[in-house]
């Protein structure tokens, strides 16, 4: 049987790849103390999807464009002020969700909010694989600067690291993974896909390498377990994937370092 014609295999491929990338990036989001950013910016995807549908463009593109604009906004706020911009970001993103709900046609609305990987094709697999490769490649280049800038921004700068550029690249990758996650878990749960595996990984690791690798692993495992379970019991995969990551989190609590 060709795996590219079997729907479950396609779902598993997209899910696992997305889970790996989400877990990995999530570990750095926790490191940067921006755990909720994924959750919040995912809301912006909805008006993006709606506008794409209105203009008959690929909804992924619409979601990604909206997310990209959102991360630029956050990046500018980060640069302009050292103060927490949470309130402003919170308001803006909640409003965009409200707007999105209003203008998105109803059938697509449910899909966008809760995710739907029942209709994916080989193209989605290739797109996902390519983007996940971009994520890991870019992270390989910037993780040192990113981590050092968390330890001390001045220290990173004195080492010749362009902190602002590094942050921008990272936020760009966050936009990519949130856009990919929409397919698997939908707007409401894509934030969880990014954060829960990474939070679980933090429980069981001492250093950075262990933390980031187990976060990726837990993300992939959540997708694998969740999609298989959902397929077997004929349930909606998105929430099951997130619940699977929750189970992993609970288990890791037993081994907390």
């Amino acid at each position: 049987m060709n795996i590219f014609t079997n729907l479950l295999s396609l779902q598993l491929l997209v899910g696992i790849l997305t889970g790996l990338g989400a877990g990995y990036l999530g570990s750095f989001m926790i490191l940067k103390r921006m755990s909720l950013v994924g959750d919040v910016i995912s809301h912006v995807a909805l008006p993006g999807i709606a506008i794409a549908l209105i203009f008959k463009v690929n909804p992924f593109l619409g979601a990604f464009t909206a997310l990209f604009l959102a991360v630029i906004g956050i990046w500018i706020l980060e640069r302009k002020t050292e103060l927490p911009s949470e309130t402003l970001v919170g308001i803006f993103f909640a409003l965009s969700l409200a707007l999105g709900i209003l203008i998105t046609p109803e059938p697509e609305l449910l899909e966008a909010l809760f995710g739907d990987i029942s209709k994916i094709g080989p193209v989605d697999v290739f797109l996902t694989a390519a983007l996940i490769a971009v994520i890991f490649f870019t992270m390989f280049r910037i993780y040192r600067g990113l981590t050092l800038s968390v330890v001390s921004k001045q220290l990173a700068q004195s080492m010749g690291i362009n902190v602002s550029r590094t942050n921008f690249l990272f936020l760009f990758l966050v936009a990519v993974i949130v856009a990919l996650g929409l397919k698997v878990t939908g707007i409401f749960l894509t934030g969880a896909l990014v954060i829960v595996p990474a939070a679980a990984a933090k429980n069981v690791s001492i250093g950075l390498a262990g933390f980031t690798r187990s976060a990726a692993l837990f993300g992939g495992m959540s997708a694998l377990g969740g999609i298989l379970f959902a397929s077997h019991f004929n349930l909606h995969p998105g929430p099951i994937v997130v619940l699977a990551s929750g189970v992993i989190f609970l288990i890791t609590l037993l081994f907390k370092k």
Partner: protein
């Protein structure tokens, strides 16, 4: 006076953020193997001065380092808490990949047992170390590349008084062994008297410059700290 031993000369240095003048008209030179202390009240622009010297922020005037110097900088602000998943080894490897050099640097800062270094210190989370141990690791970080100049911003922030002496003694020992030049920001004038051979007092502009025993007189301290001289009275015995 600028000569062959001069490693840094600063002329008419000024820094502005937006339209706020942070520093103006600073002039000083640093000679090889000097220990120059920079003192001044909170918000006087001391850390900004360091960042200007490192070329991290725009400035006016002239900053001239001797060519080919290796400069190490340990800033004041660190976000190292217990939660940070980063081992000492990973942190030090961000600067130097060679494990032998890393162990060498840790030995230099007084963690002498190689077995202890390899199996405990390096494997530990940075945030699980005590304040004094973190300072040692930061000093180890700063000497990893065999620097010619060390810039230390409040190296003892967050350390108890006993530990503070130890850290300065360690810095002094390393300086004597390796012959680097030290620029340090400190709030503690006793430390300045004891360890620095030169001091500049900064409060937006330069209030004094010279040997600590000579220039840190009541008048310049009053000007520097705004009248709180009794608190800063020179009390040491040697």
């Amino acid at each position: 006076m600028v000569n062959q031993q001069t490693i840094l000369s600063v002329e008419n240095l000024g820094v502005k953020f937006d339209n706020n003048e942070i520093l103006r008209g600073l002039n000083f030179i640093v000679q090889k193997e000097d220990v120059l202390a920079i003192v001044g009240p909170n918000g006087a622009g001391k850390s900004v001065l360091f960042r200007a010297l490192l070329g991290l922020i725009p400035y006016s005037g002239k900053i001239q380092w001797a060519p080919g110097l290796k400069i190490s900088y340990v800033p004041q602000k660190f976000n190292i808490d217990k939660d940070l998943p980063l081992s000492v080894e990973e942190f030090l490897k961000f600067k130097e990949k060679n494990p032998k050099k890393i162990i060498g640097a840790l030995k230099s800062v007084g963690i002498t047992d190689e077995h202890h270094i390899e199996h405990h210190v390096l494997k530990e989370r940075v945030g699980w170390l005590s304040g004094g141990q973190i300072q040692r690791v930061l000093i180890a970080w700063s000497i990893l590349n065999n620097p010619d100049v060390l810039l230390f911003d409040e190296p003892t922030a967050g350390i108890d008084v006993g530990g503070e002496e130890t850290i300065y003694n360690l810095l002094k020992k390393l300086k004597d062994e390796r012959g680097f030049t030290v620029l340090l920001i400190s709030h503690d004038l006793n430390i300045v008297y004891k360890y620095a051979n030169n001091v500049i007092c900064v409060n937006k502009e330069m209030v004094c410059h010279g040997e600590p025993n000579v220039v840190l007189d009541p008048a310049s301290l009053a000007k520097l700290y705004g009248g709180e001289t009794s608190f800063y009275k020179h009390e040491h015995f040697h």
